[in-house]
Amino acid sequence: AKSDSSKLTIGVGGQSSLVYLPTTLAAQLGYYQQVGLEVTLQDLQAGSKALTALLGGSVDVTSGYYDHTIQTQAKGKSIESFVTMLKLPGIALVISPQEHKQISSISDLKGAKIGVTAPGSSTDFFLNYLLKWAGLSADAVSHQAIGSGSTAVAAMEQGTVDAAVMIDPAISELLKRQPDTKILYDLRTADGVQKIYGTPQYPAAVLYSTSSWVKEHAAIAKKLAAAIVKTLQWINTHSAAEIAAKMPASLVGADKNLYIKALSAAKPTYSLDGKMPPEGASEVLKVLSSDPAIAKANINLAATYTNSLLPPS
């Protein structure tokens, strides 16, 4: 909403979250400047807050989940993704180390307490989808909100929940503390995604803005997309340690090795070209359709993303 065309603010749904790493890394690498943009990053802690900030006009562009574009369309707002940063959702269903039953599929978790980061979050939707996928009813397990940080680790370690849909770096942290923790479904790998969704790519973190902004500021969006794609390529060609070295210390945290480890695990999830895979997009819609409001809404997927602003590959 700023008039000065080369200045803009990007709201990030949690800068310390690895899924949004390219947004920050691009700034660290100076790529925004290179394309002639003066970008301010605003850490909003959660994707939904970043979306609200966008709709409220506090930020111009949001670094958030692709899911939001569909969810907001169902609410009559049209927003549009124009560069995809994450081609795999970067979440996993992890079994609590306190759980002693043999668990080999979601069906074994019937009646269990399963943690999600927050009700209505993408982890929550994933769990619903998983249940449906396994032919279970939505209330076959009890959904327990446990957050995404140390609360989630604590809940898992103490066995407050039997399993949880977790995201990184919490997964890595848990694995470090409890190395024999079992991961049942790992959507941080193409194989895992293929197994659940039947397609190897599932768009997660993207840059999006309101459709009107994208239309009016196509040039800026183009530059942004270029900077991000360049960053993605840089990620692809550098090691986790090299990436970590570029990130601000405050985001790396005290335990650099852990960060590198988490980053190595996350590296395959980053998109290489910033393209939205259309099959992935329709998978997202399928997942979200467990919300009756979305199932009813008759979503026009084509309006939720564009690949036309990406640099020619």
Binding site: L55, K77, I146, T151, A154, A293
Partner: protein, 272 residues
């Protein structure tokens, strides 16, 4: 003088009735103006219903949630948490307030610690609460407790410090021991302060429970609100909050009633 139709009393009663009528009309008028304006704004697109929903939708949703019983279990959970937080927080805050209010050495020693604890952002401590108290009701109670405790504590503490010394002396001279002074002087004289803090505390107990649920739970109104928020269902968020505030109003009526009973000697003083 048992006749109830003495002119003074009749006019007094009539005046009270008229006053009540004015108050209620004004309250309704305010509600109508705010809700009406909001509804109008939403209908004309002046108010963004992505953020604010519409009063009519909210009412319909709240009604629906209650009618279908969808929210009732959650409400029960939230109220239970708030109730414990309120009762435990008030009792502990009151007790510690009385203690430190009377024992100066303790007050001086613990003063900085209490101030420090009160300044800790509870939301940040959520992981520790969950760690210590688990995901169940206790962590929400603990959450609300930390809000209620300090409010009641500070009020009671200051109230005790403010007690008219001569009243304490008189009761002691009449043979009153520590507990008598507490019961006959400190508690009644601190009552207005405590009630004042209870009014804030009722609200904060609910806030504590809801925020606790919001941060991690599997049921409760806060969980429902978080769920609605997660799916960008503003109507659901507002419906949840509407139900909460209505409940708070009912609870506050009860607190008011108790207050009016216990502080009868005082209200009366302002009657003339």
């Amino acid at each position: 003088m048992q006749q109830s139709d003495l002119p003074v009393r009749r006019t007094a009663r009539a005046r009270a009735r008229r006053r009540r009528w004015i108050v209620h009309s004004l309250q309704v008028a305010i509600a109508v103006v705010i809700l009406g304006g909001w509804q109008l704004g939403s209908n004309t697109g002046f108010v963004d219903s992505f953020f604010f929903s519409k009063p009519s939708d909210i009412a319909a949703r709240a009604y629906d949630w209650i009618k279908t019983g969808y929210i009732l279990d959650d409400l029960a959970v939230t109220l239970q948490e708030a109730f414990y937080a309120f009762v435990l927080g008030s009792l502990a805050g009151g007790a510690v307030g009385f203690l430190l209010g009377r024992v100066r050495l303790l007050a001086e020693v613990f003063d900085p610690y209490i101030k420090m604890l009160n300044a800790l952002p509870r939301v940040v401590l959520a992981p520790i609460f969950l760690l210590w108290f688990g995901l169940g009701i206790s962590s929400k109670v603990a959450f609300g407790f930390t809000l209620v405790f300090f409010i009641v504590f500070f009020s009671t503490f200051q109230g005790v410090r403010n007690v008219d010394r001569i009243l304490v002396d008189n009761v002691r001279m009449l043979g009153g021991k520590r507990r008598h002074v507490l019961r006959h002087v400190l508690i009644p004289s601190t009552a207005t302060w405590i009630f004042s803090s209870l009014h804030v505390s009722v609200g904060f107990a609910i806030v504590g429970a809801v925020v606790g649920e919001y941060l991690g739970a599997s049921q409760g109104v806060g969980y429902r609100i978080a769920q609605s928020e997660g799916t960008f269902d503003t109507t659901g968020v507002f419906a949840g909050m509407t139900i909460l505030t209505l409940v708070v109003l009912v609870i506050d009526l009860a607190v008011n009633r108790i207050e009016r009973r216990l502080l009868r000697w005082k209200l009366d003083e302002h009657m003339t």
